[in-house]
């Protein structure tokens, strides 16, 4: 075999190996969640979760019945239902901002951890308590049925913190079943 041919084949194989390495999905890809991009006001459906996010706002004070608290709050109003099977619950409700992850507060009564029913929407609010410095930047709201969201649908809504409506105070929607 000609020497230049050997070199060409060798170089070609190295490039091919690099291409395969570059194209190989990362280790965690085989059990990654299936993201479903949501839009405010429109239903977003995953494997066993369907949700319509009505509104995302920020407030310095949140009330829920007799409970109230000051702070830097992001409030999400939504309806959510199971699609195929029960039991199901809204176990994962997180807001990721930069490298920090916040979970829906358990302080007020809210949709967080609520049990869901197939085909019967449950409406209510989720409240996220953020540090005072978190008032700008992009974030992602994630909703799923299990704290461990691997290999299941995750409803995701991008949020621009700085662009959210910012009333001084928000009353959380009472959690309740709604008809359609």
């Amino acid at each position: 075999m000609k020497s230049w041919l050997q070199w060409t084949i060798g170089a070609g194989l190295v490039v091919a190996a690099w291409g395969v390495a570059a194209l190989t999905p990362p280790e965690e890809a085989r059990e990654a969640p299936f993201p479903v991009r949501a839009v405010i006001g429109e239903p977003a459906s995953g494997r066993n979760i369907e949700t319509t996010i009505a509104d995302v706002r920020r407030a310095d004070r949140v009330t829920a019945g007799a409970w109230s608290a000051d702070g830097n709050w992001v409030v999400v109003d939504l309806t959510v239902e199971a699609v195929m099977t029960e039991p199901a619950s809204l176990a994962l409700a997180t807001l990721t901002i930069g490298d920090r992850v916040f979970s829906a507060s358990e302080r007020p009564k809210s949709l967080a951890q609520s049990a869901l029913a197939v085909g019967i929407p449950l409406s209510g609010s989720l409240a996220f308590e953020l540090p005072t410095d978190a008032d700008q930047g992009e974030g992602t709201l994630s909703l799923a049925l299990h704290g461990d969201s691997r290999l299941d649908s995750v409803i995701e809504l991008p949020i621009d913190l700085g662009a959210l409506p910012h009333p001084p105070s928000i009353e959380l929607e009472p959690t309740g079943w709604t008809n359609g």
């Binding site: 409970w67 702070g71 992850v101 410095d133 691997r150």
Partner: protein, 245 residues
């Protein structure tokens, strides 16, 4: 000196060399070895300027070096305590009101109180019971929400089972299960105790622990804070609110 000059050319010369005694035999033998010949040449060349170095180094009693090194090693070992069991690195003392910060939380243990039932503050007790509460100001300095159960592992109270403690927010009385990143909170560890178990002025011994973040791999997924390592001790005086008023 080259091989050609020194190597015996004839049997007679070789015989003469053999019978000429050990010194000449040795020199003839070494001369037949090229490396030895080079060594000898180098030695002679060095003999001019650096001969004194070799002369001096030849005088160094190299057989003593191992012994001297052993003595130094044993001496150093003895100076650091020999084979005696090394003392564990001690834990520092920390005062109530001083902040302790690790990779997980920044927290300040503030006070301990003995209280009576107070439904307004969410304290319900049975007959003959009192409430022992330890107030802690805490901030989750990690990037994810953390279970408050981990905070209970950070602050171990001597003689009290952490599983029996409930953790309550001071401001709204809600039970805390998760602490959000960088959101400070004033919480209380609460424990129902017998009326005579603790008195005003009793001292609680607290051990502050640091935990390590363990990310599971291979057969385990997820991550957890594990292996509490004691880093500080605190003495906390119990104040009886009934005695004060």
């Amino acid at each position: 000196m080259t091989e050609g000059e020194s190597a015996p050319r004839t049997r007679a010369a070789a015989r003469a060399a053999r019978t000429a005694g050990t010194a000449s035999t040795a020199s003839a033998a070494s001369a037949t070895l090229p490396s030895a010949a080079r060594g000898a040449r180098g030695r002679r060349a060095a003999g001019g300027r650096f001969g004194w170095v070799r002369a001096a180094s030849d005088r160094v009693p190299t057989t003593w070096l191992a012994g001297a090194a052993t003595v130094v090693f044993l001496g150093a070992t003895a100076a650091f305590g020999g084979l005696a069991t090394a003392a564990e690195p001690g834990t520092a003392a920390i005062e109530p009101g001083a902040e302790h910060r690790n990779d997980q939380f920044a927290f300040t243990v503030e006070s301990a109180q003995l209280r009576d039932a107070d439904p307004d503050a969410g304290i319900y007790l049975d007959e003959g019971e009192r409430l022992l509460s330890v107030r802690v100001r805490v901030e989750n300095v990690f990037a994810e929400p953390q279970a408050v159960g981990d905070l209970v592992e950070n602050i171990a109270i001597d003689g009290i089972d952490a599983k029996k403690l409930s953790v309550v927010r001071v401001d709204d009385g809600t039970f805390v299960s998760r602490l959000q990143p960088d959101v400070p909170a004033e919480v209380e560890f609460r424990l129902r105790v017998g009326a005579g178990d603790y008195r005003d002025g009793d001292v609680l011994h607290l051990t502050l622990n640091d935990l390590s973040y363990y990310v599971g791999s291979f057969v385990m997924s997820g991550a957890a804070w594990v292996d509490p390592e004691p880093v500080a001790e605190m003495s906390l005086i119990v104040h009886d609110t009934a005695a004060a008023s």
